[in-house]
């Protein structure tokens, strides 16, 4: 479903693609299975001009903006980030209809793990070959 998440249609669970950690009910919000950290945005987008002299420095204002980092509890992969005002509830960014998803893949009759690519183009094919060679 994303770079780091798949849905096991048999068990109806969200699963981490890196370490197979179970992240919860696939009919619900995968974020509920993650660890979350409230990051001061100045630590990521560091000031380029002197914050002692200037109000605007290339860094977001922590009074306006926070970065929520969502980690897999199994492998600590950062599977999602979200930029929100302080105190704003994390967004439920994806909710999928599992019955429809199952029916869709059954109708296709293909294996999602091989059928899904990053899209068209030479770059994708080169990337897939490189990944296959590595493994």
């Amino acid at each position: 479903m994303t770079e780091y998440l798949f849905i096991d249609l048999d068990t109806e669970r969200w699963v981490c693609r890196v370490c197979d950690h179970d992240l919860g009910d696939a009919r619900g919000n995968y974020k509920e299975g993650t660890l979350v950290y409230d990051r001061d945005p100045r630590e990521i987008h560091q000031p380029i001009i002197d914050p002692d002299k200037y109000e605007f420095t290339f860094s977001p204002d922590p009074g306006y903006c926070r970065i929520l980092e969502f980690y897999c509890p199994g492998c600590a992969t950062q599977i999602e980030t979200e930029y929100v005002p302080p105190g704003h509830p994390p967004t439920v960014d994806m909710l999928w209809d599992i019955d429809a998803l199952r029916a869709q893949w059954q109708a296709r009759g293909t294996d999602p793990s091989t059928a899904i690519t990053y899209g068209p183009g030479e770059d994708v094919r080169r990337h897939l070959h490189a990944a296959a060679d590595t493994h």
């Binding site: 479903m1 994303t2 770079e3 780091y4 993650t34 660890l35 979350v36 950290y37 409230d38 630590e43 987008h45 560091q46 380029i48 001009i49 002197d50 002299k53 200037y54 605007f56 420095t57 290339f58 977001p60 009074g63 306006y64 903006c65 970065i67 969502f70 980690y71 509890p73 600590a76 992969t77 950062q78 599977i79 980030t81 930029y83 005002p85 302080p86 105190g87 704003h88 509830p89 994390p90 967004t91 439920v92 960014d93 994806m94 909710l95 999928w96 209809d97 429809a100 869709q104 296709r108 293909t110 999602p112 899904i116 990053y118 899209g119 068209p120 183009g121 770059d123 080169r126 990337h127």
Partner: protein
Amino acid sequence: MTAVHETPTTELTVQEQEWVDQFMDETTLFLGPDREIMRSHNIAPRSLFEEECIAGGIDVLQIDRIRKRLAGALDEGYEMCEAMGAAPGAKWGDLTTAVYTASGDVTYLSCHGVIAFSAILHHPIRYIMKYWKDEPTVGIHPGDGFIHNDARFGNVHNTDQSMIMPIIRDGEIIAWVAATIHEGENGACEPGGMPSGSETPFDDGLRMSPFKIVERGELRRDLLTFLQHSVRDPKLQLADLKVKIGAVQRIMERVNNLIDEVGVETFVAALRVTVEDVEEEVRRRIKELPDGTVQFNQFMDSTLKENILIKFACKVTVKGEKMTVDLRGTGPEILNRAINSPLCSVKSMFMQAILAFWWPDLPRCTSAMSPIEIISDEHTWADAGYDAPMGQSLQASFRGFSALQASWAKLQFANPEKFSNVLAPWFNQINTFLWGGVTQHGDQVGNLCADLNGMPGGAKPFVDGEDAVSPLFCAMADTAEQEVMEEEVPFMQLVSKRLVRDNMGFGKQTGGMGYEMIVASEGTPLWGFMTVTSGAKFSSIYGMFGGYGSGTYPLARVKGINVYDVLRKDPSRFDLSIEKVMNEQPFEGGQYLTSHMGLQFDVAKDGELYMMSQGAGGGYGDVLERDPNAVARDRELNRISDKVAREIFAVAYDPQTYLVDVEGTKALRAEARRARLERGKPYAEFVKEFVTPEPPKDLLYYGSWGDKADELTATVFDIDGPKRVTAPIAELPIIMLPDRRDLKVAELEARVRELEHKHGENVHRKS
């Protein structure tokens, strides 16, 4: 306390209501935008004539040949506009040419140019057909041409002017051809046509509802004169009117030859079938997506006069072949600020995402969006009313683009049938200088630098985003030759295309980088700069699947110096960057200032420095998965700092040779992962600690808080000062913000009184 006087309500009888309706029908003061036309982005039903033409039989190869001939004709017209256009926008490709069905649906757009127009120009054509076709004082005749720019009648924004001409055979309109160019200057309250300072619709400049300016092939001199007197650049107004007329007439010549070859019926059938085919294909493609809902919230941090936070909420739901885009929860319109957008402009940027980033292979038709339902509350900043100023409507409409572009990675990830790559967010702000004044040639002008076209691209799962590649609205736009511009305008870009270190969205693959620009004017009796960008406190774009977004961008100025005098005396001091100038403050006596990037027309004296940076594309994936060698290469090229390489990417390397220390990197990354597990809190516990019932007290916040889309939070200013209210959009009071100078004066006066009291000074004042 504010007294409230409610208007007494009276129920009308049926008879009375009929009288009122009849009176309203018969008594038209003036014709405004037509609600029925403006709310719809659906294609028109087949006309009887189209039915007859299609019933005559369809030869798909013939239709394909017609499409290719149309594409050729439109590209020829496009190139004419680009080569001959006087507007800077025309020279860089910010324009389009298109052919339409008789009822106004875009059938084909030029291959280059701004795709967003395929969702917008059916509005003015439907207006012309509904109101002017049978109007005895107007009418539509062969050779007629209609001009238009007012976004409230259907446009991306008011800088864009269209020339729309009918193709008539046997007395019937069978198609339309149009050319639209970003002209820039339009007589608004500030030069350049997209004023951040507009506080009423009357500050937005020319507001041309569609009207006839070309009669039977002749440009009407009286109307042309009126337009020239209404703008700062009368030469531009004349030149580009002629360019558009010429381009459209050339396209019509090609189209007429085509019609002579294939016949009217085949031609009309080809237009209609193309539109219908695209609609059918879009439904099929939606059906291939997984059913579900993807939600994406954006927060904009500026009205371009003061910092606020206003939400752009978007929820995309797919069920079978139906897709719904729901914007409820988006913040209210602010009735004295320029950031509001009509819904049609937001939809045009939806189309930009759909046809440039979702399905770039489709013909650019109105029908590419018509199967998608769009739900929006009127009088939000993304669906503003007639009375809202819209000078900088791109602030809302570009968020519309990002809403669909960013959501697409999640919507399409699990679909094996893709027509574009999975992609992190594209940069979405207009980081450039607008300018205006008197040139070295004595001409009065107003327009902008092409550098808004240097938006960096988002990262893909397998490759970094491209640096300063193209604006979100035009894949093949040019950033232009600055030296050519300098022959026409009295300022130089002392620094023009210098990448700003660390200015990228970090991730497994990094987003494209943006560059800085430093400008200074010289040798002009009057010159000024403006900026029209948000994102100085809250990042404008975010990352994808664990990647980070862009940083934030200040406007930096050095006033009270003449850099040209300094450099003429000592050319060795010509080594400028924002970082260097602002941190080292090398010019004695200068005032070094930063501010957010909403700058209203600011008079620039000779040699004063204005500095800004382009943004960055979004990063893709976890930073700890980035190839350590790619990090070391970025460090060697000075694209990133040592701090970012070590602290964010957790890569150890030799600072002399830039060779990666493999074991050291493994240790750093293992430690970084361990630290994540230690500081990360289980979701439920985190939410309990982090989430608050409303926004921080002193933040001017507008929009829903969380997922409760039916209620908006807003700070309103009444007689007692600022007050936070939460209510459904229909129950919110009108939102207007106080003049920031009044607030500043009040603050300073309070400080004066405080000091007088502290020092026992008794001052008698009269009011």
